[in-house]
């Protein structure tokens, strides 16, 4: 049933401060009526590229990991000619991250609003919401219900279909996703062509992370100035982060970009903390970077600050490794997972990652030989920059930072000791790792 005009055009309450994206007062998902009551009706711009100037003024960058300026991607797709396609990428592959799944669960209509606006901005007539199917039936039926609600309320101008990503680490890579949507396996492909030139069905394809789309939905309503009221001048707005504390608790936090890590990880980074004090912070996820805790304590959650420390915001993961755990063992375990998650298409990644993983598990043991570390460093050099996708480079960023941050622990191991007291793994991995080809479909 279409919404009556009086119901649908209420301006919505402009959210002051945070949170902007997630409903603050509830853990129950917003239905369409709650969503419209909260934010008002969707503001279409009635024309291709009309939203791009607002997004440029807002300074919105992609929240999926690469932080690419959103308006430039929209312009590239709109200018590529032909009939474009738009995709909301909710295939959050990082096992340590769950901000996109949380957003899709609590505020699906914000994401779907953004997808409609992004589709309009590039002139797409079709769109797709691409989500990991590891989160169970609950999310699947909620998203289907949200789409059905919108369609019967005639809010959507462009039909949206749901597509399910296989539970693989690389399934969220743009080219893998396009490959799957084109009827193939979710394996990365060699570029060029880039997906903005030739993607789904051969059409220029706009791919935006689901959180990015939710920001678009708010900027379209409240404007660039509102968006820039928080964040840093270079990186405005807010972002969702998955914060994993040393005591094992996990929080999904919406923070202004540029928030001090010390305030996000107060107990973990406090100088006087007794139990559970962090020795290192993993920033970005498993393609991210380890930071020694004293270094992390002086940093802020934005790419300018993190880049200076060799890290990036990445997939919005902050994990505080407590001093009770061995950083080398944690790294070895994750890199073994990353090696098994290689698509196995490119020689250097196929050969290098398992060797590096084996080397790291030797370093995680006691009295590793002197050659192991040198081998790992040589292999890391051979793997970097030589894959079709970002898997080898991201994995090596993780490995190199571990060798630096846990150098003192490595000297302990060489002398036959490990300073860890806990043997339970800290960083999460998905249960079981599929290995057959069918798992990519």
């Amino acid at each position: 049933m279409p919404l009556r005009r009086s119901e649908s055009t209420s301006p919505g309450i402009r959210p002051e401060g945070l949170p902007r994206l997630l409903p603050a007062d509830t853990t129950v998902p917003d239905g369409l009526h709650e969503h419209l009551a909260r934010h008002g009706f969707l503001r279409y711009r009635d024309g291709r590229l009309h939203l791009a100037a607002e997004l440029r003024a807002a300074g919105l960058t992609g929240r999926g990991g690469a932080a690419f300026p959103v308006h430039r991607k929209i312009e590239a797709v709109a200018d590529a000619g032909g009939q474009p396609f738009a995709v909301a990428n909710g295939a959050e592959s990082e096992p340590a991250a769950s901000k996109d799944a949380t957003l899709l669960w609590l505020a699906p209509h914000l994401v779907l609003d953004g997808l409609q606006l992004a589709a309009e901005a590039v002139g797409a007539q079709e769109a797709c919401l691409y989500v990991h199917n590891t989160q169970g039936v609950r999310l699947e039926s909620a998203l289907q219900r949200a789409l059905a609600e919108r369609w019967s309320a005639r809010i959507d101008r462009v039909p949206v279909r749901l597509a399910w990503a296989p539970p693989r680490f690389l399934a969220g890579q743009e080219t893998a996703m396009v490959n799957l949507l084109n009827g193939g396996l979710a394996l990365p492909t060699f570029t060029p062509p880039r997906v903005f030139e030739r993607g789904v069905g051969g059409a220029p394809t706009l791919v935006q992370n689901v959180e990015t789309l939710a920001h678009i939905a708010l900027i379209a309503r409240y404007g660039a100035r509102w968006f820039r009221a928080i964040g840093t001048p270079a990186e405005p707005g807010s972002m969702l982060a998955t914060v994993r504390h040393g005591d094992g608790t996990v929080r999904i936090v919406e923070a202004a970009v540029g928030t001090p890590l010390r305030s996000l990880l107060a107990d973990d980074l406090a100088a006087d903390a007794a139990v559970g004090r962090a020795q290192a912070i993993l920033a970005g996820g498993y393609h991210g970077t380890w930071l020694a805790a004293p270094d992390a304590a002086g940093l802020t959650l934005d790419n300018a600050a993190l880049k200076a420390a060799g890290a990036s915001v990445g997939a919005g993961v902050l994990a505080a490794l407590p001093a009770s755990h061995c950083g080398l063992a944690e790294t070895a375990r994750v890199v073994r997972y990353l090696a098994l998650e290689s698509a196995g298409q490119c020689g250097p990644c196929l050969n290098g990652l398992p060797r590096i993983a084996a080397g790291l598990s030797t370093l995680a043991g006691l009295r590793p030989g002197p050659r192991v570390r040198r081998d790992i460093e040589r292999w890391a050099g051979l793997v970097t920059g030589r894959g079709a996708c970002t898997h080898p480079d991201g994995s090596m960023r993780f490995v190199r930072s571990a060798l630096q941050v846990f150098a003192a622990e490595l000297r302990h191991h060489e002398r036959g000791a490990c300073s860890a007291s806990a043997r339970q793994p800290f960083l999460p991995l998905p249960p079981g790792t599929p290995v057959s080809d069918e798992d990519w479909s």
Partner: protein, 67 residues
């Protein structure tokens, strides 16, 4: 305009023909996959580079103008 060699790492199966045909710019890593000089192909080597490109059994090597 400068021309650069680039390998499609998915297609490349490590036959190693490129390194035999253009040793000035291509060597093999310890697993047999090509390590390619990132600098522009000098005009004097362009003919050899083309031969390496057409000599790849799986056509994984490309000579591109960098845009």
């Amino acid at each position: 305009m400068d021309k650069h060699l680039r390998v499609n790492p998915i297609e490349c199966a490590g036959h190693g023909a490129c390194a035999e045909l253009l040793p000035e710019m291509i060597s093999l890593d310890e697993w047999g996959y090509p390590l390619i000089d990132p600098r522009p192909v000098p005009p004097a080597l362009e003919r050899h580079a083309r031969r390496a490109v057409s000599g790849c059994p799986v056509l994984a090597l490309h000579l591109n103008r960098r845009s």
